[in-house]
């Protein structure tokens, strides 16, 4: 009975706290602007199934893909077991489903055990890869501190979880063979039926029950820890990869988003019939491009929270490869960190974050009146965004359809259009296009080559 009450309380606490954290993340994502979700829904569903569920893009590198698949599938299937853990925990029963499902039960648990064993091997391999192999993509500047710990922590969690599962099942198997009262026969589990006796054979019944309970609690507690750790971790991708692949743009990667406001303004400038008062002159100058999370699309922010920090993008970025500061992974991480910072300030409700000119009358802090004097440019330097060649290598490499190029271009637009800043080297090119219709200011006629050619023949 005591166990049941403790279980219920712990579950409620853990789930409530997790809900709070997840709703903060949702709010942070929604700091971004509305985005029109264009294109074929069928294609989107297909993307979600193939890329998030089927992990298609992971299979460009086969070994990490298989290891990752084990951890992922084990994770998915362990959730089935969780249903039973909840039922058992609340009603104080043991292996509630076993008698109903019979041999199917044995099969399911065995399947989970085999997957877990695979996941265990994968986890050890990942730990070795992260810490011994020194793959450059795991040791860039942005991967120090929390991101580095985060990458390892999950692997430790996974190991603890597996210890839980196998001590629970292993002790159970031995208890069954002793004919212990509360441990009904469940058939042979694939791994525990030999691992259990090997580890725990010959122990006292009471010790075995202790081990079994320990394993059970360790398992469920680890699940709760994991649930609450997820929101501050890159492992959020386990959940967000699904919406992110669904909402990912379907346009060709070479297509840059149009800016209809500017298009219409230029159109009316070119149209001799357009009435001048179409363009209200007294209005505050509009801001173009993005300087902060509020100016990005919410899907960009979703992508930032989905980023797995795997660094596949940075690994292929020509700017990064040649030692420039730009790292597409860092761009995504910066957007996420900035969104989280804004979210925390909003949560504080402190009116000192209200825009100065509105502060006197403001009664609540909202995303509309928010201003902390900072922006994405406090995270991302100009040098980084200038170095991008728009080569789309990062977009191609990302296993979960993130396009780091999009926010980079939005930041560039802010710099050029709103601030009239940016690399001075670009000015002659802009002027030349505007004045002569060519990227270079040249004395020759555009079709001089043609006359030459006619002469030659």
């Amino acid at each position: 009975m005591i166990q049941q009450i403790i279980f219920a309380l712990v579950s409620i606490g853990a789930i409530a706290y997790a809900i709070k954290q997840f709703s903060s993340i949702r709010r942070n994502i929604m700091l971004g602007q509305d985005v029109e979700i264009a294109g074929d829904t069928g294609q989107r569903i297909q993307n979600t199934l193939l890329i998030a569920f089927g992990q298609k893009k992971m299979f460009k590198r086969i070994i990490p893909a298989i290891l990752h698949l084990f951890v992922y599938v084990a994770f998915l299937f362990t959730q089935i077991e969780l249903i039973e853990i909840f039922v058992d925990g609340i009603f104080g029963v043991h292996r509630f489903f076993a008698p109903y499902l019979g041999s199917l039960y044995t099969f399911i648990i065995s399947f989970i055990e085999i997957l877990s064993l695979g996941a265990f091997v994968a986890t050890i391999a990942f730990l070795a890869r992260r810490n011994l192999l020194k793959l450059p993509r795991f040791h860039k500047n942005e991967m120090t501190g929390w991101p580095q710990l985060d990458g390892n922590l999950i692997l430790y969690f996974e190991i603890i979880l597996l210890i839980g599962i196998f001590s629970m099942n292993g002790a159970d198997v031995v208890l069954q063979s002793l004919g212990s009262e509360y441990y009904p026969q469940t058939g042979n589990f694939a791994v525990s039926s030999w691992l259990g006796p090997a580890l725990f054979g010959g122990l006292e019944e009471s010790t075995l029950i202790g081990i079994e309970r320990f394993g059970w609690w360790l398992h469920i507690l680890m699940v709760f820890v994991f649930l609450n750790y997820l929101p501050s971790s890159k492992h959020l991708h386990i959940l967000l990869a699904f919406p992110n692949t669904y909402f990912a743009k379907l346009t060709p990667p070479g297509e840059m988003e149009n800016m209809p406001t500017i298009m219409n303004e230029v159109k009316s400038m070119m149209d001799p019939n357009a009435a001048m008062d179409d363009v209200p002159m007294d209005e505050e100058l509009p801001e173009f491009g993005a300087k902060d999370v509020f100016d990005l699309g919410w899907t960009d922010v979703l992508a930032a929270y989905t980023c797995t920090e795997c660094g596949r993008c940075t690994d292929v970025c020509p700017a990064n490869i040649t030692g420039k500061k730009l790292s597409p992974r860092k761009i995504m991480m910066d957007i996420r960190d900035r969104a989280t910072e804004i979210g925390q300030n909003l949560d504080s409700g402190d009116l000192k974050w209200v825009k100065e000119e509105l502060r006197a009358e403001a009664t609540t802090l909202t995303k509309e009146n928010y201003d902390d004097g900072k922006s994405l440019f406090d995270y991302i330097t100009r040098e980084e965004i200038h170095a991008c060649t728009t080569c789309n290598a990062c977009v191609e490499a990302c296993p979960i359809l993130i396009r780091p190029l999009d926010p980079i271009l939005k930041l560039r637009r802010y710099e050029i259009l709103t601030e009239s800043a940016g690399p001075g080297d670009w000015l002659p090119m802009f002027n030349s296009i505007e004045n002569t219709g060519a990227v270079w200011q040249l004395p020759d006629a555009r079709d001089k080559w043609r006359d030459e050619m006619l002469e030659e023949s």
């Binding site: 297509e255 149009n258 500017i262 700017a319 500061k325 170095a387 290598a393 670009w426 555009r446 043609r450």
Partner: protein, 255 residues
Amino acid sequence: MADMAAEGKTPEVLFWVGCAGSFDARAQKVTKAFCKILNAAEVDFAILGKEEACTGDPARRAGNEFIFQMTALQNIEVLNMYNVKKIVATCPHCFNILKNEYPELGGKYEVQHHTEFLQGLINDGRIKLKEGGAFEGKKITYHDSCYIGRANGIYEAPRSVLQGLDNDLVEMKRAGSRGLCCGAGGAQMFKEDEPGDKRINTARTEDALETGASIVAANCPFCITMMQDGITAAEKSESVMVYDLAELIVNNNGF
């Protein structure tokens, strides 16, 4: 185009020459080579001549939407005035922006890069690649342009054209969808690099030289400039040549 329109003729295709193809001495050679092929294949084509302006790609990628919209809308006005239906471009940046970005501004055309266009001419038998031409058995490597490859998913067409030249096509270690950029895109061509260990074209040239190929085939005026600069800097310009696909066909067939 103006002359043709005056005579009431509509050409099969409009050749979009682009700024590099019009003004850059190296790229002009590609422009001329492509015209020779079009003539040899008896393609009825036109150019806009002085009525063509920059598509606005570098301005847009740099972030200057105003300049882009101005030049793009002007171009669209001209193209729509001539009722252009089909465009072929030798520059991947022009090709990409005409194909993917002009439609939203009101410029809807069927757009091809000359890589695909050449493949089409070969497949339709309008040009026949001479067997045992100048490149028989020579080692050639192909540099994927970002705006042809990743941006538009064209990997097969250039390789199929090259294979038609009877040569030994060798791939660089980073090729196809994983090909490394030459470093020119995103308006990088028009500014100095940010501080780093080396220039991007140096890294890409190393990839190309590693294959031991004596010819680097490309299909972008900016890639050609970047690769040529890299090869010159590596003091290999005697032994390794950079050519556009159109030039290779012209040399092979002696047009």
